[in-house]
């Protein structure tokens, strides 16, 4: 990646476009996963932070990696704001991924509450990355409210189903001036690659890596896929022919026909 192709979030530039999750695999694999992923940002749940505790996730994250604490556990904007502040107090920095979920079955994000939390936390100086359902109106409002990027879901979280919301994510990519980072549902490196080819600015993945047989090796595969997809996007994909070849009688041939 060239210096010019950095992913810029809230004024911070990153050369990696792979945001790694940390919630579903053993803590002692985190360091290897980060290294193999080449990740510069890692998400973590405040609910797993336990200063002084035996299994405090913060103790396992390599130095130099930017922390992206999420607000999982928040059911309202108010709770997300409180959790974000707690994360900052605990030394997690200014980045925050807003998750407002009031459905324990599918864990779908609540866009309305997420927007409110985005507005308030952006005003408090946080670098806000809202996890959201890919709705253009909501995403525009989050952008106006001060989001640093938008994180639409590709499929239900943990489902490994891939880009089931592909058409709507493409609209966000086309219409927003902010980075669009696809979060949730990406189950395979090929799906991450596809999202990057579409112009996604980055990929956040957790379950796909955590449930792989070899966690660090799968982190490598995702890194490679994301880099390949990014390179393809920058190169400009060749056209795909819908059906058949070019029309044999040119539709504009009449311009050359003399009466």
């Amino acid at each position: 990646m060239t210096q010019q192709d950095a992913l810029v979030l809230g004024g911070h530039a990153f050369t990696s476009r792979f945001i790694l999750g940390s919630g579903k695999y053993s803590l002692d694999l985190i360091e290897a996963a980060v290294a193999q992923a080449g990740a510069q940002i890692i998400t973590l749940a405040l609910r797993r932070i336990d200063p002084g505790g035996e299994a405090n996730i913060l103790d396992y994250i390599p130095r130099g990696v930017t922390l992206l604490p999420n607000t999982s556990g928040a059911r309202t904007a108010e709770e997300a704001v409180r959790i974000a502040r707690l994360a900052r107090e605990m030394g997690c920095g200014d980045f925050v991924k807003i998750e407002v979920i009031r459905d324990t079955k599918y864990l779908l994000p609540d866009n309305a509450e997420t927007l409110k939390a985005t507005e308030r936390l952006a005003k408090e100086g946080f670098i806000v990355l809202p996890y959201m359902y890919p709705d253009l109106n909501a995403a525009r409002d989050m952008a106006s409210a001060g989001a640093a990027a938008i994180m639409p879901l590709g499929a239900p979280i943990g489902s490994n189903q891939g880009l089931t919301t592909k058409a709507f994510i493409q609209i966000l990519i086309d219409e927003l001036d902010l980075p669009v980072i696809v979060d949730a549902g990406i189950g395979r490196p090929s799906q991450a690659c596809e999202a990057m080819e579409m112009g996604a600015a980055g990929i956040m993945a957790n379950t796909a890596i955590a449930t792989a047989g070899d966690v660090p090796a799968m982190a490598t595969a995702f890194r490679q896929a994301i880099e390949a997809g990014r390179t393809a996007y920058l190169a400009g994909l060749g056209p795909t022919l819908a059906s058949g070849a070019c029309a044999s009688s040119p539709l504009t041939g009449f311009l050359r026909d003399r009466p």
Partner: protein, 383 residues
């Protein structure tokens, strides 16, 4: 108190909330005939990405027994996708064993001549310090059901102490009104578990001959009142072996399922307790609920409610518990004492039932790590 009053009738002063869950659960339980389910229904259930209540019923039926391995394979996959390799670890702290009820299967039964005790504030704090020193960050506070000996103020004070020493505070105490749950939530509690014991009202009446616990509907609606009081998550269980365990397991899962549909933000948890011998009652046993049947219930719960936490109790032996966390259970207790003051040198009061897994927190941690799973001490933030 009239011993033979109708277990479906409320006592004066008990809070009644508007809810249709009880009728729905009891009707479905009545309609479920485990022996009528076929192997075809079981196979169909196992092929569906999301189970409907009738699929759940099939998985609890005798016809599902030959498919236990297939259920285990699928349950393991569902569990790992939903929870990764995280296993939450906690311990119960029994605050008091005074009880006004006379549940025929329980060591705390008011007529059972046991050493009664209640921890005072200093004793509670000493217990909590001893527990916290083992590395645990989640605690479950329990009492016998005595409003006289463990009133709301006492429970509130215990929750406040627990918040000082732990990140996660759960309660397993007598059912309360909405306002009572709201108070305990303000004091730091976020999880409430109430076992319905059996969902058959007639058996329930026989097993609970007196006391407030005899009122079936007030107990049934506890979880809903807790949610209305601002509690984040609620736990359900039938004590398997008291009545037809298949129908009770079905009613338990359905109760949880319907409550989550009504309150989608509620976190749902299930336990799979089997009847155990208790003090002065060592002939109690879970009759036809052997390990295979218990596992079948656990796996059916997991497949029907992939998002629910499932706790595996120290009523079971280490070998069973270690396998349960591989297949579907996501929460395990460690360093357990079910007596009063059991984390100090000497029990102040007697135990509720006999436990079968005596391992310390460090031993449970090692067992979890030994299976490529990770012990999680805290997965919660109080807001």
């Amino acid at each position: 108190m009239t011993p033979n009053r109708d277990p479906m009738a409320y006592l004066p002063g008990m809070e009644i909330i508007a809810s249709n869950l009880l009728e729905a659960v009891l009707a479905a339980r009545r309609a479920f005939v485990p022996e009528a389910c076929t192997a075809t229904q079981v196979r169909q259930a196992l092929q569906k990405p999301r189970l409907r209540p009738e699929d759940f019923a099939a998985l609890l039926a005798p016809a599902a027994a030959p498919q236990l391995e297939a259920m285990a394979q699928r349950a393991r996959e569902v569990t790992r996708r939903q929870f990764g390799n995280a296993i939450q670890v906690f311990t119960p702290l029994y605050l008091a064993n005074h009880c006004e009820n006379s549940c025929v299967y329980c060591g705390f039964n008011v007529h059972n001549r046991i050493q009664r005790a209640r921890l005072d504030g200093d004793e509670i704090e000493a217990e909590m310090k001893a527990i916290a020193a083992t590395g645990l960050r989640e605690i479950l506070l329990l009492t016998g059901e005595s409003r006289a000996h463990s009133d709301l103020a006492y429970l509130g004070a215990a929750c406040q102490l627990a918040r000082k020493h732990f990140k996660v505070v759960g309660l397993e105490v007598y059912p309360l009104d909405v306002a009572g749950y709201a108070h305990l939530h303000e004091c730091g509690a976020d999880y409430v578990t109430v076992f319905q014991e059996t969902y058959d009202p007639a058996s329930y009446g026989v097993l609970h001959p007196a006391g407030r616990k005899r009122v079936f509907p007030y107990r049934f609606h506890s979880q809903e009142r807790a949610i209305l009081g601002g509690i984040r998550g609620v736990g359900f269980a039938a004590l398997l072996g008291l009545d037809d365990f298949r129908r009770d397991a079905f009613a338990t899962g359905l109760h949880a399922y319907l409550l989550q549909r009504k309150y989608p933000h509620a976190e749902i948890a299930l336990s799979v307790p089997r009847l155990r011998p208790a003090i002065h009652n060592d002939r109690l046993n879970a009759r036809d609920v052997h390990e295979a049947q218990l596992l079948q219930c656990l796996l059916a719960y997991r497949l029907f409610l992939p998002f629910a936490n499932i706790t595996i109790s120290t009523r079971e032996e280490a070998r069973f518990r270690d396998h349960a966390i591989k297949l579907g259970a996501t929460k395990i207790s460690a360093g357990v004492s079910v007596g009063i003051g059991g984390h100090q040198e000497k029990n102040k009061g007697d135990e509720q039932f006999d436990i079968a897994d005596f391992r310390s927190v460090q031993e449970i941690r090692a067992a979890i790590l030994g299976q490529d799973l990770q012990p999680v001490m805290s997965d919660h933030v109080f807001v």
